[in-house]
Amino acid sequence: MTKFEHKDLLGMGPLTVEDITLILDTAESLKAISDREIKKVPTLRGKSIVNFFYEPSTRTRTSFDVAAKRLSADTLSLSASTSSMVKGETLLDTARNLQAMRPDLIVLRHSSSGAPHMLAKEVEAGIINAGDGINEHPTQALLDLFTIREKIGRISGLKVVIIGDISHSRVARSNIIGLTKMGAEVTVSGPPTMMPSGIQTLGVDVVPDPARAVRGKDVVMLLRIQLERQSKVLFPSIREYASFFGLSNDILRRANEGAIVMHPGPLNRGVEITSEVADGPYSVILDQVANGVAVRMAVLYLLIGGAKGDNVDQGR
């Protein structure tokens, strides 16, 4: 069995194809735990994990918390408002204080790109990037890869389109890196105001019009339009965005037979996705959520679970 030789999970960049395959395989064997009557194994008993969410998050924080608890790790949740950061303490000081309590892992969500990288240099505990600014969100990409593999059976050779604000999306960046690494062909689509400079250098095609970009694709991945965050000049109105860049059944029809529709949530129904698509037969959005727990269990296990590369479900 391949070994997972990382202290941290900071992004998709440092992972090899073997690393990613190992995470997905591990997640597959751990997924069944969530279907049992007793949804808990003692694998990470005695380990402590800090969920440090400097930025609000419900889905990701809950998912990490559930994943840790199913593996019997002790968890502690901190948010910006409960930490001393509201008292003016710097991130590094907060991290050093946490380190003094000797956690095994710190799961960090932060509004600044590179914040987990800074922490990783400073503390002994492993760091999992649970989303940093507009940079990366690697566990989201891993759960998306897992879902694609589960639904379609492979990743390599698939044609994937990502639609939305590519510039400001950590989900897009992590998925672009992960998907291309795993051999998928990636197209990005959306208004030119939301296309970052030189995105082609990441190995993707740019087709701004979703109606054209969706044609012949196996996976249609949508990004959340951050209504609260987007500056006022990126697009003129929600109405115009919805009519030119939102995914409707009309557009989805151009995708390949058996194509799946993905969204990292939370949904803006009627903006980037119509309800008929979100609730339709091609949507795998809720599977993504379920798989999120399994993938995060796999990541926690591989980073701190006993001797690296041991049998996963040793508590069986």
Partner: protein, 428 residues
């Protein structure tokens, strides 16, 4: 009492010559410059500085530093900045007005000069604000500021948005012979950017500052210089597009001059990978192509001067998340070795390089120095261009240690710096 600097290779940035010369100093002035072997002093009453195998250069003149006093003395004081300058081979520095309070009135200008006098290291020339509180609304009292000792005008750090105000500043400053120095940046285009907008910012997920944010304003200043017929100086040029605009303007006879800083011809945006806040600076480190354009601009004389934009920040502003950290890096002790690297790489001739570090700044600001002449102030440095060393933070005399060159191997150092015949720095 005579000081005899014996046998060094004297660099004259004006004639472009480098010749072995003895320099004699009396009462703070250069009394004689003689070919080696002509002067034979008896030892009595002579202080000998042996410089053979070394170079004797006019003291460097930096037209763009931030000294943080008054207001942020924990980052730098006039005294600590002046000592760092001396150690870098500088004998004169011009400090930007963005202090707290800003240098927008006689009292602050006089305070700066008083502190510099007390520090007693290098000459410090205050640059006053263009607008009161650097708010971009009302001109400062140019005449009074000049009387108090200001040598130039700039709202560095707070670009003048209002084009009419900039136009009037150029016109009004001409009456007093003060040069206006522009920090060219369209802040609405920079937005919340923290590094150069390009393939690296896209890859590492940081918000970008496009190069157009600089060259839009460079073009505005050129247009205003043409309109008014008055000179304008462009600070810290970082982008290839700006170099092109300045080149064309100069060809058209428009009175525009420019400076760049060593980091813009040494580092590019890839240095930011890893989120090292020491590489966060404004304008940002740009692409390798921009770096080449800056070098070409220096070589062709499009860029007149090399200034440091020495910008001290403490760990309080730098040990933070990248987007929260302050912009800026120190540079007084690295400018000489980094510029000598251009000489070794064949980009600039030695005398031309020294000229951009000394004579250019002095003449642009209309202050003395920048060239050694009989009868002139003995402001000079003895440098060893071949001395190789690791630049570690222990060498830094600034109060702040925010240099991206820490840990690098550098070549070339000031062994001795003299201001008005007085030794203000000597390498141990």
């Amino acid at each position: 009492m005579i000081t005899w600097i014996r046998g060094g290779d004297l660099v004259d940035p004006v004639t472009g010559t480098v010749e072995q010369t003895d320099v004699l100093i009396e009462k703070g002035k250069v009394s004689k410059m003689l070919p080696r072997g002509v002067f034979h002093g008896d030892d009595a009453g002579i202080t000998l500085v042996e410089a053979s195998g070394k170079m004797v250069i006019p003291g460097l003149v930096d037209m763009h530093v931030h000294l943080r006093e008054p207001g942020h003395e924990y980052k730098e004081t006039i005294a600590s900045g002046a000592m760092a300058a001396a150690a870098g081979g500088y004998t004169a520095i011009a400090c930007m007005p963005n202090t707290v309070p800003p240098n927008d009135c006689r009292a602050v200008t006089e305070f700066i000069l008083g502190q510099a006098e007390r520090a007693g290291a290098v000459k410090v020339y205050p640059i006053a604000a263009i607008s009161k509180r650097q708010a971009g609304e009302t001109l400062t009292d140019f005449g009074e500021l000049k009387q108090a000792g200001a040598v130039g005008l700039s709202d560095d750090g707070f670009p003048v948005v209002n084009s009419e105000l900039m136009r009037r500043a150029l016109e009004y400053a001409s009456f007093y012979g003060l040069r206006v120095i522009s920090h060219c940046e369209d802040r609405s285009l920079s937005g919340n950017g923290v590094m150069h907008e390009g393939v690296v910012s896209t890859r590492i997920g940081l918000s970008g500052i496009p190069d157009a944010s600089e060259d839009i304003m460079v073009y505005r200043e050129i247009a205003l210089a043409r309109l008014t017929g008055q000179p304008v100086h462009i600070a810290h040029v970082s982008a290839a597009a700006s170099v092109d605009l300045i080149r064309r303007a100069k060809e058209d006879g428009i009175r525009v001059t420019a400076e760049t800083a060593p980091h813009y011809f040494t580092l590019d945006h890839r240095r930011v990978i890893g989120y090292d806040t020491l590489a966060k600076v404004n304008p940002p480190l740009r692409t390798p192509e921009d770096v080449e354009a800056i070098k070409a601009g220096l070589r062709e004389g499009v860029i007149d001067a090399i200034a440091t934009d020495h910008a001290p920040h403490s760990s309080l502003e730098k040990d933070l998340e990248f987007d929260r950290a302050a912009f800026g890096m120190i540079g007084l002790q690295t400018a000489l070795p980094l510029t000598l690297r251009l000489v070794r790489d064949g980009v600039l001739g030695l005398a031309d390089a020294i000229k951009k570090l000394s004579w250019a700044g002095a003449t642009l600001l209309g202050v003395s120095g920048g060239r050694l002449m009989e009868g002139g102030d003995a402001d000079l440095a003895v440098i060893d261009p071949d001395y190789e060393y690791f630049f570690d933070s222990d060498r830094i005399l600034s109060k702040s240690k925010n240099s991206p060159f820490i840990g690098e191997s550098l070549k070339g150092i000031a062994e001795l710096t003299m201001v008005g015949g007085k030794v203000v720095w000597e390498k141990r």
